[in-house]
């Protein structure tokens, strides 16, 4: 049977999606459903003195107008997002423990605030009406009496002693402050170093912009409890968080995530509106649907990045890194939703380079802005950007070639396995070879000739290289159930949730190979807590790494489980039976029985060793579960080449090379698609995206696709992508992960290329995004001197 692992198969799920038969949340309706709309805060920070709800309550079609006090009066509590994730190394520990502030802040998140509003766009009042239009119209009639407070939207300013304070129980706005490494040792190294580079890098705030706006359909039934239909990155986490907030057993909450129109991180956590439709549904006795419009999305979706890095690198005269010291300041926003970006970013801080000593001081700061959470890469692109920019700056200041300084500092094959100063263990990865390959494919050595040719056309060419490594972490818990049905169909249940990654195809490729059954016989079921009992969802490159590993384990268990039954069917002993290409074979007679034969026998007669008559003893079914870490470190290198028009500041990416080691690529077509998509998001952040807020008023200036730039088709450069393989030994498939591969080095490679293009006019760090206007400013600032 031809092997499917490694084949670039078109996706099994696509025929349905291209025909318009996808089922995204807003496509689903329940009988008798009504609609919700939310009045959102127009203020970044204000005391709620009172609300006039009467006009809304008497508006046409209105069924209920509800506040946060109504929610609390119902005996419910705020959501616990568990912002402090498990440690990257020890999954049973939280990532952050010994905060210099004495504790790690974790404030429960009430879906509608009681006392104050804390960011523009925060949902304040919920209106339920017969139609969506009536709900929206009535929400406009709610009058909230605000007593405005000073606001702070910048994390740096939020740390100042006189900064406006968001939460009474957090006097400093500092959720935690953690020192990693020994600052005194580091200070000694810096004092004795030949050269020190110090820079500040501001990684811009990003709006997730998943194409399917958030949507939630909630209903309540006295017998079965709450039902939420809503896109997410995994139903288990949603179910547990909602059950906790509503103070009901988890069995009283069912979460279904049907087709999900993009994830990228923020859909991992529960949003206020998802909880609100459930609570309100019980209250009004009808199913309630809410669907965000895009303006709401820009104001209220959990956002990404927004980190300041004050970085220092100590070097020897020959450009060897002696130590790095970072101060990372993460903007948490108005609610404690996630500390994942700081956790990931600090762990991977030294990336692929041999750094003998490192320290980091991390601060998580609350501000009057939408909460932030993990957004694609979550800390790794930020840290990669800092490391790669610092190396280019160090090279320039020391008079060393940019590539040469990297060659001198890359972790070499002889140093593997390598333990980084931040505690990560790299078991594989040809870091130096990946960079060399990227240089070759990009024709790096001929760039000077292309630069001269561009100059003759009046354009300034820049080229930049960036190396990266990731630290896949994510929820350290997963489970699959594998069942062979009597008709030969194979049913796989997993706790992951595709948001476009094609799990039904790739999981089936692995299972078909390992079990020896046809690809078409396999169906994947996910996204319903009625049958998904355990699972961590899809993020952090975890899905194939964990589910793939569990498939290998489950196949082995399943084969063993069926062996005595097959022996009976073959009229032989178990010792004579082997399993080859999906069939049990008797070594003596060479007679064979298939998995379906065994499944039928089990359905009829039960498992031979099973006791009692429980239903499962009549099913050919195994469960595999994992708790812990399956470490793996995807790695690679990128080279970006671009041209700047000095008259306008416009940037054109002219070629882009991406060398990515994702371990074993199960489906290269899908992996390359992930690289493309990650790169598009990286280009977006580097050149166009960047959530804008007026620093004085706290008002949002990026409220739609008309004033927030995302990459469109013309933004993508000609791409040269190569997958290299240095499979990890950490899991039986050798999978590392591909979801973050395109994005992790992208802003670093682009900014290095931009700095190269502009090297004659400025050595300042360009703001992110580097818009045409800001590049024009950088070019023409010299004109005014």
């Amino acid at each position: 049977m031809p092997k499917l692992i490694g084949q670039p198969m078109p996706r099994a799920e696509d025929a349905r999606l291209v025909a318009g038969k996808g089922q995204y949340t807003d496509d689903v309706s329940l009988p008798g459903q009504v609609y919700a709309a939310f009045l959102r805060s127009s203020r970044p920070h204000a005391v709620i003195r009172g609300m006039d709800l009467e006009a809304a309550r008497s508006a046409p079609g209105v069924i209920a107008v509800l506040t946060g006090q109504d929610y609390l009066d119902g005996g419910h509590q705020g959501m616990d997002h568990v912002p402090n994730p498990a440690d990257a190394i020890a999954h049973e520990q939280r990532a952050f423990n010994d905060s210099l502030t004495g504790h790690v802040f974790n404030q429960r998140h009430i879906p509608l605030p009681i006392d104050k509003v804390r960011h523009v766009g925060e949902a304040v009042v919920m209106v339920v009406a017969e139609t969506q239009r009536e709900a929206r119209d009535a929400a406009e009639l709610v009058d909230v009496d605000y007593d405005p407070l000073p606001a702070v939207v910048d994390a740096d300013k939020g740390m100042l002693p006189d900064a406006p304070q968001l939460w009474d129980n957090l006097p400093s706005n500092l959720c935690f402050q953690v020192q990693i490494g020994n600052p005194e040792d580091i200070a000694r190294i810096f004092a004795g170093a030949h050269h020190v580079v110090r820079r500040e890098f501001r990684n811009s705030r990003i709006v997730n912009c998943q194409m399917e706006p958030r949507s939630a359909l909630g209903s309540y039934d006295p017998e079965s409890g709450y039902l939420l239909i809503s896109g997410s990155q995994g139903v288990t986490r949603q179910q547990l968080c909602i059950a906790d907030a509503l103070k009901v057993p988890r069995t009283q909450v069912r979460v279904i995530s049907p087709d999900v129109g993009g994830g990228f991180g923020p859909r991992s956590m529960v949003n206020p509106e998802q909880l609100a439709v459930l609570w309100a549904s019980k209250r009004v006795g009808r199913p309630i649907k809410w669907t965000s419009d895009r303006n709401e999305a820009f104001l209220s979706d959990y956002q990404g990045r927004d980190q300041v890095a004050r970085a220092a690198m100590a070097l020897s005269a020959d450009g060897r890194i002696l130590a790095v010291d970072h101060e990372l300041i993460g903007n948490v926003g108005a609610h404690t939703v996630s500390y994942v970006p700081l956790s990931n970013g600090s762990r991977v801080m030294t990336t692929v380079y041999h750094v003998p000593a490192a320290a980091a001081k991390l601060s998580a700061v609350m501000t009057n802005s939408a909460p932030t959470g993990p957004y694609r890469g979550a800390g790794r692109p930020e840290s990669t950007h800092v490391m790669e920019r610092m190396l280019d700056i160090a090279a320039r200041e020391l008079g060393i070639d940019r590539v040469e300084i990297r060659r001198r500092n890359l972790i070499q094959p002889g140093q593997m396995p390598y333990r980084s100063p931040m505690g990560l263990n790299y078991d594989s990865g040809a870091f130096a070879a990946n960079m060399e390959r990227a240089l070759t494919v990009s024709e790096w050595d001929a760039a000077e000739a292309r630069r001269a040719a561009a100059r003759a056309r009046g354009r300034w060419l820049g080229i930049g290289v960036a190396n990266y490594v990731e630290s896949p972490v994510g929820a350290p818990k997963e489970r699959i159930e594998l069942t062979v049905e009597p008709d030969g169909r194979v049913d796989l249940v997993a706790g992951t949730q595709t948001t476009g990654q094609g799990h039904a195809t790739t999981f089936a490729q692995v299972l078909a190979d390992k079990l020896g059954v046809p690809f078409e016989a396999i169906s994947l079921r996910t996204g319903d807590s009625a049958f998904v009992s355990v699972g961590g969802g899809t993020h952090s490159d975890r899905s194939m790494r964990l589910v793939g590993t569990l498939i290998v384990q489950a196949v082995s268990s399943l084969v063993d489980l069926g062996k005595p039954v097959a022996a009976t069917l073959l009229d032989t002993t178990e010792g004579q039976v082997s399993f080859i290409d999906g069939e049990y074979v008797d070594a003596t007679s060479q007679r064979k029985v298939g998995l379906a034969d065994v499944a039928r026998r089990i359905a009829e007669s039960g498992l031979p060793d099973a006791e009692g008559a429980a239903a499962d003893t009549h099913r050919f079914r195994v469960v595999a579960e994992f708790n812990g870490r399956i470490p793996a470190h995807p790695t690679g290198a990128a080279v970006c080449e671009l041209e700047v028009d000095p008259d306008t500041g416009e940037v054109e990416l002219t070629r882009y090379t991406s060398i990515d080691d994702v371990g074993t690529p199960i489906n290269p077509l899908i992996v390359e698609g992930q690289v493309h998509g990650g790169l598009a998001q990286g280009i977006g952040q580097a050149l166009y995206e960047g959530f804008q807020v007026d620093p004085e008023s706290g008002q949002v200036l990026s409220g739609s696709y008309m004033d927030y730039g995302v990459a469109r088709a013309g933004a993508l450069p000609p791409l040269r992508i190569e997958l290299t393989e240095d499979p990890t030994s950490g899991n039986p498939l050798g999978v590392k992960g591909g979801g973050e591969s395109g994005i992790t080095p992208a802003t670093a490679a682009i900014f290095n290329a931009l700095a190269d293009a502009l090297r004659e006019v400025t050595t300042d760090e360009l703001p992110m995004p580097a818009t045409a206007a800001s590049i024009w400013e950088a070019i023409h600032q010299g004109d005014r001197v």
């Binding site: 025909a19 318009g20 995204y24 698609g673 493309h676 598009a680 739609s704 013309g714």
Partner: protein
Amino acid sequence: MMQVHVTINGESVSRDVDDRTLLVEFIRKDLGLTGTHVGCDTSQCGACTVHLDGVAVKSCSVLAAQASGGDVVTIEGLAPSPDALGPVQEAFVACHGLQCGFCTPGMIMAVDHYLTVDGRLDDASICHGLEGNICRCTGYVNIIEAVKHAAAARQGGPHA
């Protein structure tokens, strides 16, 4: 309220709707054709693209009343038969031109129209043709491939 009459995917329908009803709401809610999606409110993203009288339009920026009397084709009406896909749909599958699939129906409707009225197949022209549609997953590279693939298929086979 007013009565809207359209031909939708070859079928003639009439419905009484609120005056404010957008064509996309009419298609999704009144007619139950949920393949047409809403991704923004500013006609920027193109997820709601349908054909109205043979022209690709963003159905969030047309009132249902304006479409009355017109001939509307949605993603559900693009395939030649219930068990086959149209060439653009086939091309998106073959070239991995989608990931989450949410922007895809609008993208396909835009591409189908582009190949009908323009159809230049250099990258710059295709990118210009796709300027009104946003995808957040695939990075466009494979969508551009799908446009070329579909153009070849429309001319009589994938290798034509």
